[in-house]
């Protein structure tokens, strides 16, 4: 256990630090507090007089944690697909801009400090430098903006991972939270997505290619943003069209269940896995025929 047993204050203390058990908002302390390193909180709370004994401590903790969880659940349920759309668009903006600014900053820094690395990692190196005169100050400052944007992109990505499963549980379970958010954003919301035919969902994000096709300049696109998913990408090219069609079909169903009921439906996911397994098995058996390999899965 830790060396000092007095309750600490500040960012690494327990949730109960400085709380008046009768008056203060213990739920907020649970929600907002932070500590890198856990400690023997029950004992510390009793020693500091927050609780009479460990039983009393656990009673208070459970009451506070329950209130905190209930409050956050309610808030999250109110947060709807709109936030997700903003977040996914902002994430893409941050990524693109971070790269662009990082390129510029590292190019500039290369001329001043004769360092080579480019991109966001290069910008991180530059941002850590101590500038000595005006031009250096500008280059270092610019690199710092690129790094901040890249960090913001990661924060947005974490936000999407946390939020998408409560907005669209089935779609997120099937596509992963990020792709689920992208589909919702491309359709303009969960409801419009739920109302689209599966053929449209299949090519969402391939509007340019679709437009070229309609203008008679290109073949019809077989998949849009769903291409980024393993189900499509890791299927051999000859079968990608069928994989994309099967995947889009189930995604459409998932979006409908999410919009109309919000319940997680296991059988939806089972069905999709079977469809993909069948498509893959076709490729495997053809390969086995020619190479004598057997597929295990």
């Amino acid at each position: 256990m830790s060396e000092d047993t007095d309750a600490t204050n500040g960012p690494d203390g327990g949730w109960f630090d400085g709380l008046d058990p009768e008056d203060d908002d213990a739920a907020a302390a649970i929600i907002e507090g932070r500590a890198e390193t856990p400690r023997g909180w029950p004992t510390l709370a009793v020693d500091s007089g927050f609780a009479d004994d460990t039983d009393d401590y656990y009673d208070r903790l459970r009451a506070a944690a329950t209130r905190a969880t209930r409050r956050t659940v309610r808030e999250r349920e109110r947060a709807d697909d709109r936030q997700l759309i903003h977040a996914v668009r902002a994430m893409d903006d941050c990524e693109r801009t971070a790269n662009e600014v990082a390129e510029r900053a590292t190019e500039w820094a290369g001329a001043i400090f004769d360092t080579a690395p480019t991109g966001v990692d290069g910008a991180r190196d530059v941002a850590a430098r101590e500038p000595n005169e005006a031009a250096e100050r500008r280059a270092v400052s610019l690199a710092t903006r690129a790094v901040d944007l890249a960090d913001e992109r990661d924060e947005l990505s974490a936000y999407i991972e946390r939020t998408a499963p409560s907005v669209a549980p089935n779609l997120s379970a099937m596509a992963g939270p990020e792709l689920a958010a992208r589909l919702i954003a491309l359709a303009g919301g969960l409801e419009p997505l739920a109302k689209k035919p599966s053929g449209t969902v299949q090519v969402l994000g391939a509007e340019d290619a679709l437009f070229a096709h309609l203008a008679g300049r290109a073949p019809s696109p077989k998949h849009g943003v769903i291409y980024t998913h393993d189900f499509v990408r890791n299927t051999r090219p000859a079968d990608r069209g069928s994989a994309a069609r099967a995947f889009a079909g189930k995604l459409t169903l998932a979006a409908r269940v999410d919009h109309y009921s919000g319940e997680l439906r296991a059988e939806l996911h089972e069905d999709l896995r079977e469809r993909i397994a069948t498509i893959r098995a076709r490729a495997d058996s053809e390969r086995a025929d020619t190479e004598g390999v057997s597929a295990d899965e």
Partner: protein, 214 residues
């Protein structure tokens, strides 16, 4: 540690329920499971930890321990854990299942629901105590080993990690065996692997892992 006879934690028993002998704990039912005389069936088909116990893995649980449970979902498994264990911290990051978890916690006075992201233990390090006896993890999202590694800070030196790894969460296309190997490798950063077992036939393409700190 070489018992051949079954070791169940105090508070977990095999009871005859609906004419069959089944794992059970004492408590209010949570998910419509069959009950008899106040005992509720712990269905290994619905619970990875239930399957690990059913398969005779050396879980080391004795009853009354302090537990950190990661990926509590609607509380199917963690409600059984809270029935036999001591203080049970239940971490879940999705709001929808957390609503059901709250209901499961209503009748369990040492089940502590936390709506937190298990990849960010610093957001609950001020709540979950140090030196828990067991970490039970079933998050089923990419990066399962990283979650276990990051949460190692909570585990007592002689505590155990009881982990269910879902192959498809890491990579839907790679062979499960390869996924499991990579996951175990990553776990070895902080843990010593004591035992592994596939959870078939209860859970396809899942690996049960028991580990201690290294």
């Amino acid at each position: 540690m070489s018992e051949t006879s079954e070791r169940l934690p105090a508070g977990v028993e095999r009871r005859s329920i609906e004419g069959r002998s089944r794992l059970a704990t004492r408590g209010e039912p949570v998910y419509g499971e069959p009950t008899a005389d106040g005992w509720r069936t712990w269905d290994p088909n619905r619970s990875k930890l239930g399957a690990m116990i059913e398969l005779g893995m050396d879980h080391g649980l004795v009853g009354d321990e302090t537990v950190l449970y990661l990926g509590a979902a609607a509380g199917t498994t963690v409600s059984h854990v809270a029935d036999f264990a001591g203080p049970t911290y239940a971490v879940e990051f999705a709001a929808r299942p957390a609503r059901d978890l709250l209901s499961a916690a209503e009748t369990r006075d040492r089940l502590i629901p936390l709506l937190k992201d298990a990849r960010r233990p610093e957001t609950y390090g001020h709540v979950v105590e140090a030196d828990v006896d067991a970490i039970i993890q079933d998050v089923a999202t990419r990066g399962q080993a990283a979650v276990a590694v990051r949460n190692a800070r909570f585990l007592a030196p002689d505590g155990r990690l009881l982990l269910a790894v879902k192959a498809r969460s890491e990579d839907v296309t790679d062979a499960p065996a390869a996924v499991f190997e990579r996951t175990l490798d990553r776990l070895r950063d902080r843990y010593e692997i004591r035992e592994t077992e596939r959870l078939d036939p209860y859970h396809e393409d899942h690996l049960g892992v028991i580990a201690t700190l290294r």
